[in-house]
Symmetry: C2
Subunit: 393 residues, 2 copies
Amino acid sequence: MGGVSSNPGIDIRNKKYTQRGVSSSKEDVVLAIRDLDPGVYPNAFCRIVPDILGQNPKYVNLMHADGAGSKSSLAYIYWRETQDVSVFESLAQDALVMNIDDMACVGGVQSPMLFSSCIARNKRYIPAEVIKALIHGTEKFLAEMRKLDFSMHLSGGETADLGDNVRTLVVDATATCRMPKKHVIENHIQPGDVIVGCASDGQATYEKEYNSGIASNGLSALRHDLFKKEYLHRYPESLDPHMDASLAYAGSYSLHDVLPRMGISQPLGKLALSPTRTYAPLIRDVLEQIRDQIHGIIHCSGGGQYKVLPFLKGCRAVKDQLFQAPPIFRILPDYPHPDLYHIFNMGHRLEFYTSPKGVETILDICKKYKIQGKAVGFVEASSQAEVRLILPE
Amino acid sequence: MGGVSSNPGIDIRNKKYTQRGVSSSKEDVVLAIRDLDPGVYPNAFCRIVPDILGQNPKYVNLMHADGAGSKSSLAYIYWRETQDVSVFESLAQDALVMNIDDMACVGGVQSPMLFSSCIARNKRYIPAEVIKALIHGTEKFLAEMRKLDFSMHLSGGETADLGDNVRTLVVDATATCRMPKKHVIENHIQPGDVIVGCASDGQATYEKEYNSGIASNGLSALRHDLFKKEYLHRYPESLDPHMDASLAYAGSYSLHDVLPRMGISQPLGKLALSPTRTYAPLIRDVLEQIRDQIHGIIHCSGGGQYKVLPFLKGCRAVKDQLFQAPPIFRILPDYPHPDLYHIFNMGHRLEFYTSPKGVETILDICKKYKIQGKAVGFVEASSQAEVRLILPE
């Protein structure tokens, strides 16, 4: 439809999201923690603290927590339907990459990273084989990253039986990194910058199959919007019982449905559980080759295509050449509603803000990893920070 | 009654625990992860990995995750009853100390520590003021530790809205520490060692009021055994709806009840929410003064007085001079059942295994901090590793 969307976009779509007890931007939490020390690089994508761990004035520390979010509810019902426990290995990757890619945006990707996992389960529904798959998946993904020459290691983790607190499963990970200050990328996005987006879907050279691009944000919306009412009755433990029943599993699909006209053979449940792609190899190459051209790196996670907003000072990001939305997003009942861009990445989950002469190198590196790259927009001066999207046809 | 209890003790008491969906020893998880690399010091109290973060062969890293467990359900109902949001500050301390004291047991207490928190909430029940109290409590506790000359710093954290996964609230923390190898305490418990216990209750010099000693283990058992049925009806969101109703809030107390004959003015709900005491100051002093005498340090968390069992090789720990159980444990309906010692600390949450000549120094240091210390038992040779408790009169 080629609409125009400016921030903030609160309407019917976002209200539905809120009524499901989630929010894409966590406004109240942001207010609650606004007095916290912003760290030594206030405009960095994630908080950076002095080198507590090494006491070296030339270094800084990152310690970062994130998780697979409500994707674990979807993994749970998919596993119950198919007995395919490997979806929990994929869920472990989700929790790890949500940390890795945030830390990569500040340049942490060039330093060793240490990880710890934190799993809370309801033992009634989640047996040891699931925990085993989660831990095995964590080890396996980090081993794959080591093959790509990253120094990423699991330190340990905690599994807690919390049936009174947890309906099924919560999977989180924490990462620590000690990095030289000279590697730090703080966002200094400026008029004249080109925005290069890196596709969230497809199959990168280091991925084993097609990735739908869904990642780990908006999964509550997607699960309830796509999948049908029978899951409400079969797996009441997979959702908040107080959710308005009309909003719960309100879609028309089965987890087993295949969408042949999209040329994808994976069933829809599996597509929705595609592991969060890491952009770490790509970010590392870009920093090694054209660090000086890079004025910002944004991981479009919670908040979708508006994620960059808090990092814009006196400028407007205009994205007028966005990717076509990948198939997983095109079957959402609200598609192509502009508010979907607040909740999902809708096509690219990583963007570089670069001087124009950096563009070609970034696109070459994208090609190397078989990730589609594209100049999706530009930055212009503006009295007020703003993100403006021109939605694709 | 002065009974004798040997491991393992599975009977009615433990069955009740299991039926509530928790376990004090997490047997199935232990089996699921037994193939994991045990780290560079296999007999250390927690996993130690090489110095990934600093690449210095003289250093090692710890990264450790733990949380407040089901104590958050109790904090929730107490807050709803009293509007006293400060109980969440105390809950933040629980999550931190569960990490600090584990890491202190391997000697990490002499090195800087970096923390990150991980909070998952159901937004329907947990508003921003609770998140604010949790984060404020985290900052406040670490500031208090810094006053005691510990280098402990918050790096950041994540708050996730997970209404489909979480009934009310899950509060976890992760800690990272980089320490010199020469500071590492690996357990080498041996016949002839004296076991010195450090009381879990009372008021240490660095505590603001009487601490019941409950800490963060066994809270599901305690909550349902002490508190009465009305909470089941008023706060059904505070427990697993599939729990056998006869086991849920099956006690006789109100959160507001005061037990004057015990000489304690805090209401029972507050007592049950006493923040987990840290033994870090005491452990640091002991290591600074008599490191060579110390053959093991055990944090009696999950598994209670049997926590030491996996660290015993060819010996038996006999605890024949245990503390009288503090008041909070004496009002449990099953008291003085021996199985309580598998679930709760029952009087001391920290124990040193020391050569006899170290005992006096440890007791002196306990006195300095106004924590009751006591030689609670001894270690003797045994073909099979065993913990034997002679329960107090």
